[in-house]
Every structure is written in C-alpha cells, then in structure tokens.
Symmetry: C2
Subunit: 196 residues, 2 copies
C-alpha cells in the first residue's frame, strides 16, 4: 500500500535493526485519513470472505479495525490486555509473550461476542514474532469461530510471525512488509514475497 | 443524540445504580457505524473552534476520537495508561484515580505531539467523576495548549465530573446524559440540563 509505505519512509524512525517507531501516525498519534484508507484496503482484500466480525487487540489495533469494520459493515471486538472490573464473566483468554517488553500478558475477550457462527478477520498494527496474532487465533479456536485471515498494517518480514500464522493454514495480508531495518534504513520486501 | 440513546436503551445493561455496561457497542465490542455518527456529531458541535488535534485516552476513547478526527480532518493522540518501552522521552503525565477500579493510573502523552500551538478537543467514552478528563486537561496545560472543549459519549449526570470541568471554564458536550440508573432503568437527563 503506497500511501502507507510513504508515511513509513517520511515519519517512521528506525531505533535499531529491530525497532521501527511509527508513533506519529499509528501507535500514539493516529492519522484518521490513513486509517480510513487502511480499513478500506483490508475490506477489499477480504471482500469475498463473508467476514462477520473483526477481532483485534487494544490499543493500537483499534483504529485500523474500526475503519475496516465500517467498510465491511461488521462489528469490531478488541481483546483486553488487563482485567476490567466489568469484564469478568465467560472469558476466552490466551497468554501472549512480548519479546519487546519481555513479559507475558493475558489477553481476554468476552465469550458473549465471539461465537461458533462467526467468521473473523483478525487485525493488528504490527506483526513481528506473531505472538499477539497467535493469541487471537487461539481465542477464535476456543469460540469455535472460523477465521478468514489476519490483516496486518506493518509486518517485520525478517521475523517469523507471518510464517507461524501461515503454518496454521491461515491467510496473512500485510499492507507494508519490511524486509530490513539495517543501517538505520527501512527496506521494504519485494511484492512477490507477500504471504497469501 | 437519538441513535445513541436508543442503543443505550436497547443494549445497555444496568449492573447497579452506579454502573452501566455498554460493552456491546462502545467498550469491548464496537459499532463502527455508530462511532462514525458520534464522530460527526462531535465535529459539528466543535466546528467553529479551530481544533487542531484530538486528545483521548486508551482504549475506549480511541474509536469515537478517530471518527471525530476524520470528520474534523485533524490527528488524534491517545494517552497511554501503561508505560511503553518505546514511549520514554519527554512525557507529559498526570495521575488519574479510578473510583471504579480503586487505583491510581499514571497517564502519559509524548510532548512531541501536543504543543503550545495546539487547540485541543478532548474526547472520552464516559464521564462520571471526571478524573480522566481532568488528567487530560492537566496534560493540555503542561503543553501550553488551549482547549476547545471536552466531548463525552455517555455522561453519568448524577456524578460531578461535568461540573468539575465546567468550573475550570471548559465547555463540556455529552452526547447522552444519564440522570439515573435507579431500579435497573436508564433515565436520560432533560435536554435543558446540557452543560455548555
């Protein structure tokens, strides 16, 4: 997705060969117009899939998911990372290890909102080691829901997340695929590398 | 806002005289079409205010804020409740006490994204005791930004949040104002009670 790649080049900051900071438009400050384009791109990619609901993870997955939900005319459910006092009954949960933060978070979704009737599109802002997406796939499995695929805004293609998801037979669509962050520079993956 | 009131009546669950659960469309599952209407309503209410940026709080403030940002054509910044490893430098912070969770959270915004040039619209999903909104106002003050007002999706008008904000000379606009949750029933405040 060209406008996203341009935004990454213009505003992304390469903090190391592993870390790309995009908090001026995705993770802390949000560009609503770009989110709308991203949502519409996801909607187009999964148009024939009869998606009934989008599943994402708070907080940075919410903006692109709501825009995709608007375009696909389906609700969005976001998994919570922390226990909420008013979210206590009938939880579907998964453990998600963060390599960046070196901690395991329990993520949770109310079983009221994901059922065996659902066909889910899972959306997240970043894909690196795939732990968050795999946790969301676990939750989908627990609910007996089918999964149309995983939509990712930015994939770090030099890590193995996309492969781990593909090995589970699930389609992955990443709108920007980064091949390398070496030498302080963002290099995108060649088009033919797209997992699908 | 009639469609929001109808949604609250049809899907809101009154857990006690203090707690209204709206996690089927706002706090956990999100209705993107309703969020779009809410965003457009905020944009209309603050249309003449030369808003440059929207400030909100993760996670439930993000969806209505992004839709308002789309309608007003301005970026959205969400304050974080937890430290992020990649959000460490130049933080504007405030302490926010949650009466529901009985805990104090430090909320933080990068000083890179809110400056003295900004005119902010602060948006949040709920207004009860006003602690979150007051924390966001503190952050605006630290940045030297001016504040066009506070936009709230659902106000519990029987608590004093709106009054505390108004006493600081800040305009509050709530799209649904709940007068009472007594007897398991949602009663909306009369129109003329709107703080402005």
């Amino acid at each position: 997705m060209r406008s996203l790649q341009e935004k990454i080049i213009n505003e992304g900051r390469v903090l190391s060969s592993q870390v790309l900071k995009v908090d001026s438009f995705l993770n802390h400050q949000i560009d609503p117009q770009l989110m709308k384009e991203i949502g519409e791109e996801f909607a187009q990619l999964f148009a024939g899939e009869k998606v009934t609901k989008i599943l994402t993870l708070e907080s940075s997955g919410i903006a692109p998911s709501v825009m995709a939900g608007l375009a696909l005319n389906v609700p969005v459910v976001f998994a919570r990372k922390r226990q909420s006092l008013t979210l206590t009954e009938n939880l579907l949960t998964a453990e998600v290890y963060s390599f960046t933060k070196k901690e395991t978070n329990r993520i949770a979704v109310s079983a009221s909102f994901i059922t065996g009737e659902d066909r889910l599109l899972i959306i997240d802002d970043f894909l690196a080691n795939g732990q968050a997406a795999l946790g969301l796939l676990d939750i989908a499995d627990q609910a007996g829901a089918s999964v149309a695929g995983v939509g990712i805004v930015i994939e770090k293609a030099f890590q193995d997340g996309a492969q781990l998801i593909s090995e589970r037979g699930v389609r992955v669509e990443s709108l920007a695929r980064i091949q390398s962050l070496e030498n302080g520079k963002v290099t995108f993956a060649a088009k033919e590398g797209v997992t699908s």
